[in-house]
């Protein structure tokens, strides 16, 4: 491989990578300051989902687990995860845009850390996702949702959702760099994002699904993340009901996030070097 470690030590390199990543995160966030409607539109869709699911499904979901006083209490943790994953698809679209206008070529010709363009994009998208999830919480509260287990658990729930989005941003970055064409990246995102988020416990309990789909849904990491979030938002009664401990759920959630990052961070950086 290229990249000699040469005069700069590892620490020095890490320091510059952080510096460059910060410069580029700021660049990507300024976009939302300059075009506030972009932020508005990326928030409207998840908010619409909250309201639609809350009112369309609420009368038809039987057997709510203990801890959930209403369907909206069951729904919100799942829809946090779904919105974070949907939001992450913007990462690949943004990178494909940058590629098409040639600005990635400029970055690659500069003595800038090879990870910085991707880190700057995924970090900015993490910030946007945080704003989206907080807005969803506010709207959720207006339509009856309540965190049942205190503010620390509430913060952990939101934090986990945003972290899931961050991991998916790297998958999305890999796709964006591999596909390059803007429309194709957009189309490709929906092909895997919809089945992944809907064939899970995010919106409805798995038990009502046909047997073959239950097998997929039970092992779908989205189910694990949604259930972990519910552990935080619905509290101990829910955990007893699904016969899990919060520790084990958090561990499995973290392993899935770690696995995605371990695969897609190096893969996307490799693609970036060669683009």
């Amino acid at each position: 491989m290229s990249a000699p470690f040469s005069s700069d030590g590892l620490v020095e390199r890490a320091r510059w990578a952080l510096h460059d990543g910060t410069v580029l995160t700021r660049r990507n966030l300024l976009r939302y300051v300059r075009i506030p409607t972009l932020l508005v539109f990326s928030t409207i869709q998840p908010l619409m989902f909250v309201l639609l699911f809350r009112y369309v499904f609420s009368g038809n979901i039987a057997n709510l687990p203990p801890g959930a006083h209403a369907y909206v209490d069951y729904l919100m943790p799942g829809i946090f995860v779904q919105a974070a994953i949907f939001g992450a698809t913007q990462t690949g679209i943004g990178l494909a845009e940058d590629l098409n206008v040639g600005i990635i070529d400029r970055f690659r010709s500069l003595p800038t850390a090879r990870s910085a363009v991707l880190a700057g994009r995924t970090t900015a998208d993490l910030c946007r996702n945080l704003i989206v999830v907080i807005s969803m919480t506010v709207v959720g509260y207006l339509v009856g949702f309540r965190f049942q287990d205190g503010s620390i658990k509430a913060a952990l729930a939101i934090g986990l959702a945003v972290l899931v989005g961050f991991a998916f941003s790297w998958i999305s970055a890999t796709l964006g760099l591999a596909i390059k064409n803007l429309e194709s990246v957009q189309a490709a995102s929906f092909v895997w994002v919809f089945p992944l988020t809907f064939a899970s416990s995010a919106f409805v309990p798995i038990e009502g699904m046909p047997g073959w789909l239950q097998v997929f849904a039970r092992n779908n990491p989205v189910t694990i993340w949604a259930n972990t979030l519910r552990g935080f938002t619905l509290g101990p009664k829910y955990l007893v009901f699904i016969n899990e401990s919060i520790g084990a759920l958090v561990l499995r959630s973290g392993l899935w996030i770690g696995l995605i990052l371990a695969l897609f961070v190096p893969l996307s950086i490799r693609l970036y070097r060669r683009t």
Partner: protein, 343 residues
């Protein structure tokens, strides 16, 4: 032979293929320090691929290249501190202001914030963008974006600057403005490699030119040397009455040692006239008049890339965009020559 200084750019046997296409097929080049070098060729000749290899964006399949003393593959990381690149598209962030764009690039060159800001201000001043400094680049005209893009390539004060078709897509006025800017840059002692499709542009801006076609260098030298190679100016005659073409050709053919190129289909006669254009033009009119031939068009023009190409390769350039300025009836000629094989 011993030499005082190493060339700033040394390219040896570079090859790069994409799938089955040999985009660059064995290029050798040397560019002297503080000089301006032009890579001249039509679309798809391999110019951009060369620039991408020299700016570390692509690795060559074969061969070696050194820029500012650094190998483009092994020392890529150190080389990036020494180079600036402005590509074919204005690679600026539309959502940032002109100032923010330049400051960001400065910081990505690892300049301290204060220095990055200072240089951003200087570059804006130099490129007459100070008034637009705090407007987002989205609001800039095409010419302003190009200037900002060129400015971004200078923030790091690179030793070697690469400009890939710096004037493509610009209107004639912006093109002239860009030429002035580029000439200005070279005064600082920056080494510059630029690519262009226009001989005229290479002529005005560069010290030396390499003509590149199908991934290989087919000619190299100064603009004057290249033009001498194909015989200086060209005289074009056009007749509306095709039947009189042989008479007209007979009348003028003795005027130049190289003979004339005659196209019976379009009624065009082309003579390379060297440096004696006006005298030969006058004499040609006199002879045609006494032969009783009526012309529908006559033009004396300097050779264009078309002419250089035709002389060097015996075929037309393909996909060539019409240059802004060259005199003469370009379109007529291009269509006219298409039918007449490989003379």
């Amino acid at each position: 032979m011993p030499r005082m200084t190493e060339p700033t750019i040394i390219v040896e046997g570079i090859k790069k293929r994409f799938g089955g296409v040999r985009a660059v097929d064995g290029v050798d080049l040397e560019v002297e320090p503080a000089s301006v070098f032009g890579l001249l060729g039509p679309n798809g000749a391999g110019k951009t691929t060369m620039v991408r290899i020299l700016t570390t964006l692509l690795s060559p399949d074969e061969g070696h290249a050194r820029v500012a003393g650094h190998d483009v593959v092994r020392d890529a990381e150190r080389l990036r501190h020494e180079i600036g690149l402005a590509g074919q598209t204005a690679a600026v962030d539309e959502n940032l202001t002109g100032f923010e764009n330049l400051e960001m690039v400065g910081r990505l060159y690892h300049l301290p914030r204060a220095e990055a800001r200072k240089r951003a201000g200087q570059v804006l001043e130099r490129f007459s963008l100070t008034d637009a400094a705090n407007r987002t680049a989205r609001t800039y005209s095409g010419g302003m974006r190009r200037r900002l893009d060129l400015g971004a390539s200078l923030v790091g004060r690179p030793q070697v600057l690469f400009l890939d078709e710096p004037t493509i897509g610009l209107d004639p006025r912006s093109r002239l403005g860009m030429w002035d800017l580029i000439r200005e840059l070279v005064k600082d002692g920056t080494t510059l490699l630029l690519t262009t499709q226009y001989l005229e542009e290479a002529d005005v801006l560069t010290d030396r030119i390499a003509v590149i076609d199908l991934g290989t260098v087919i000619a190299a030298g100064t603009a004057d040397e290249l033009k001498t190679q194909i015989g200086g100016e060209v005289l074009e005659l056009r007749l509306s009455d095709r039947a009189r073409v042989p008479d007209a050709a007979g009348a003028v053919i003795g005027l130049v040692p190289g003979g004339a190129k005659v196209d019976n289909n379009t009624g065009e006669i082309t003579l390379p006239v060297g440096a004696d254009g006006p005298a030969i033009l006058t004499e040609a009119i006199r002879r045609l008049d006494s032969a009783g031939v009526t012309l529908s068009g006559i033009a004396l023009h300097r050779p264009t890339l078309d002419d250089v190409f035709l002389a060097l390769t015996g075929r037309e350039t393909e996909g060539l965009e019409t240059a802004a300025a060259p005199a003469g009836s370009r379109h007529g000629r291009r269509h006219g020559r298409r039918g007449d094989g490989d003379t």
